[in-house]
């Protein structure tokens, strides 16, 4: 991999510690993105995708979240070591986030336009009037008439709320956008609109983007690189082509097996057997072993190291598959 990564996450480990149990949410995750690229973080619910994104912004709920270690380098600057006041300047300006659930992401007691203007006024030295003007422009950009500035979130539909959330995220022209399942809470037609809009904006602004999703279709449309997350670890990572043409980790293969295929006559999909691992257990060796059809004794003995199959294509498996889709 090349050295000019815009964002680099190194050995990130996050746990949620309560008096009853410890949840090992993110375990030694490392990845990087080049400027202007889009990385897809794909995995099941509870795999730790959102935790990874929130750790980058340092907005994890503390307690119970504890960042056990790791570095997050943004343009070579370690965000983990920044004082809170500096971090406040990064959030919302350099790095922003689109939240998963538009229904709850907006403050119900504040006017929609003010919620956009707020982030602009906070980061840029503008008068209130200019801030309002910029916020109105942002509303227009995401396809909402500027006259609706004065309205409150409950007067907006779900898709429009998500547009507002996107407008807030893009208001200060961020360099890095963390999109946490931006379309999961929306219905299919609105999903298509929102994705179309995001792709358009992404192309225009040359942003770097991390797209968190469990929808491989969305990944295929939007991403340059893909990282597959399972049990708080990245089990496979590579370019879109690497992952879609040569899925190597049995879990990735399983994910594709569970996708409906319009061209074949199969009526049943092939599910991945078993359930996602209990994140409160500390497991040595491969976390996918209990569900893996190819597992051997060897898999449970020691932590599996990532191996580079082809340049840039990493896989955390002792027996990577070699099929071509």
């Amino acid at each position: 991999m090349s050295n000019e990564k815009y964002l680099e996450v190194k050995n990130l480990t996050v746990e949620y510690v309560t008096s009853e149990e410890t949840v090992y949410a993110v375990n030694d995750v490392s990845f990087g993105i080049e400027k202007g690229k889009t990385l897809g973080l794909v995995g099941e619910t509870g795999a730790g995708k959102t935790t990874i994104a929130r750790s980058i912004l340092r907005i994890l709920p503390v307690p119970p979240a504890v960042v056990k270690g790791g570095e997050i380098l943004l343009n070579g600057k370690n965000l983990m070591e920044l004082p809170e006041s500096e971090m406040c300047k990064v959030r919302g300006r350099d790095v922003t986030m689109i939240f998963q659930d538009p229904m709850t992401a907006l403050n119900p007691t504040m006017r929609v336009g003010d919620q956009i203007a707020e982030v602009i006024l906070h980061h840029e030295n503008l008068s209130k009037k200019e801030g309002r003007k910029r916020a109105e422009e942002m509303l227009e950009m995401v396809g909402i008439p500027a006259e609706r500035y004065e309205e409150y979130p409950h007067q907006f539909s779900g898709g429009m709320k998500q547009r507002v959330v996107i407008a807030i995220a893009l208001a200060c022209n961020p360099d890095l956008l963390l999109a946490d399942e931006p379309t999961t809470a929306l219905d299919v037609t609105i999903q298509a609109q929102v994705l179309e809009m995001m792709r358009d904006l992404h192309a225009r602004k040359n942003m770097t983007m991390i797209l968190i999703t469990h929808d491989l279709g969305v990944v295929a449309e939007m991403c340059d690189d893909v990282a597959i997350v399972y049990g708080g670890e990245i089990v496979e990572m590579g370019t879109l082509r690497d992952i879609f043409k040569h899925p190597s980790h049995p879990y990735t293969v399983g994910l594709f097996g569970a996708l409906p295929d319009l061209e074949s006559d199969r009526h049943r999909l092939t599910p991945i057997e078993g359930l996602p691992i209990d994140p409160t257990l500390q497991i040595t060796g491969c976390k996918f072993k209990p569900r893996c059809p190819y597992a051997t004794e060897e898999c449970g003995k020691a932590a599996v190291q990532a191996q580079e199959l082809t340049p840039g294509h990493f896989c955390k498996c002792l027996y990577p598959r070699k099929e071509v889709r």
């Binding site: 929130r54 912004l57 907005i59 709920p61 307690p63 809170e84 006041s85 406040c88 300047k89 990064v90 959030r91 919302g92 300006r93 922003t96 986030m97 939240f99 659930d101 709850t104 992401a105 907006l106 403050n107 119900p108 007691t109 504040m110 707020e118 982030v119 906070h122 980061h123 309205e151 409150y152 409950h154 007067q155 959330v165 807030i168």
Partner: protein, 318 residues
């Protein structure tokens, strides 16, 4: 909005009429005869009968009820059996004292209670939280009148800094107001803490942080307005409580307010005075509830929308 307020004010009329009928009926069935009480135990049958006739007590229930309602409609609350003075006048003198005591008590209770609760919520599970909640627990567990008596013993009797009872300058109000805000502040603190804790984990608060806002702004600008709703709802109840329940504090400090007057009337069996007090307290109560609802509408646009007329709402959705 104005239409809504007018509508609510008009709705108060049936509530008042209902409460008058209710109180009147209860009083009607109560044992004890005002005429006997006014004339004393030595009065003859004849004298009593004559007075009853004069006061209209021999008339049937429905006639007396009608007469009562009519006189209330003319803002005439009747004449006290005991003092012989018009009750409208008596109450007009006392209501300001009661309102002063309860409103100042509530405002102080809010000004101390909310910051205490918010601080506790923000420092959840830290020593500050434990100390704050211990104070609130003590406050909520201690009966107001007992606290009042302790304070009188300390500040009025032992230290002689403040007068023990009566009305006069500001010095006379310090102890009563302190005792009346005690329960309110503790309740507010606990409510503020629990609703803040709820709100602090909500998505829009995380979002506010993700915007890069400093924590102070996140808490006071984004979290608190949303946490205020249950607090305001509680204030309405607290206002009503302290007006009715001001009775105890007013009695302890001998403050001529509605509560004290009510207590006095009860012990004198001054039925008509009791009736007037209850109706007036009921009226203040409904007004307080209206004020609470308006405050909620001011905080939450969703509630405000329900208040504004249907037509406008429909027009907006299009």
């Amino acid at each position: 909005m104005l239409r809504y307020i007018l509508k609510r004010l008009l709705l108060i009329i049936p509530i008042i009429v209902g409460s008058i009928i209710l109180v009147f009926t209860i009083m009607y069935f109560c044992p004890g005869d005002p005429a006997t009480m006014i004339l004393g135990a030595e009065a003859t049958e004849e004298q009593i009968y004559e007075l009853r006739e004069k006061m209209g007590l021999n008339d049937p229930y429905i006639v007396r009820l009608g007469r009562t309602l009519w006189s209330y409609a003319r803002l005439d609350l009747g004449t006290s059996y005991v003092t012989g003075r018009p009750l409208t006048e008596e109450l007009a003198l006392r209501i300001p004292n009661t309102l002063r005591l309860s409103l100042i008590g509530i405002v102080i209770g809010l000004l101390i209670g909310i910051p205490l609760g918010v601080t506790s919520a923000v420092h959840h599970d830290e020593p500050i939280d434990y100390i704050g909640m211990l104070i609130a627990l003590v406050g909520i567990s201690m009966p107001g009148f007992w606290f009042a008596m302790l304070m009188v013993t300390l500040f009025a009797v032992k230290l002689r800094w403040l007068p023990p009872f009566g009305v006069g300058g500001i010095r006379y109000w310090i102890l009563p107001i302190l005792s009346s805000c005690l329960g309110g502040f503790a309740g507010n603190a606990r409510q503020a803490r629990s609703s803040m804790l709820d709100v602090l984990t909500s998505d829009y608060v995380v979002m506010a942080r993700a915007k890069g806002l400093p924590e102070k702004e996140v808490i006071w600008k984004h979290a608190l307005p949303n946490a205020m709703l249950p607090i305001v709802m509680m204030i309405g109840g607290a206002m009503a409580m302290s007006i009715g329940g001001g009775m105890i504090i007013e009695t302890v400090f001998a403050i001529p307010g509605v509560g004290f007057f009510l207590a006095d009337s009860i012990s004198n069996r001054d039925y008509i005075a009791i009736q007037s007090c209850v109706v007036v307290i009921g009226m203040v109560f409904t007004l307080m509830m209206l004020v609470t609802d308006l405050m909620m509408a001011a905080i939450d646009p969703r509630i405000k929308d329900q208040f504004s007329s249907r037509k406008r709402k429909k027009a907006k959705k299009v």
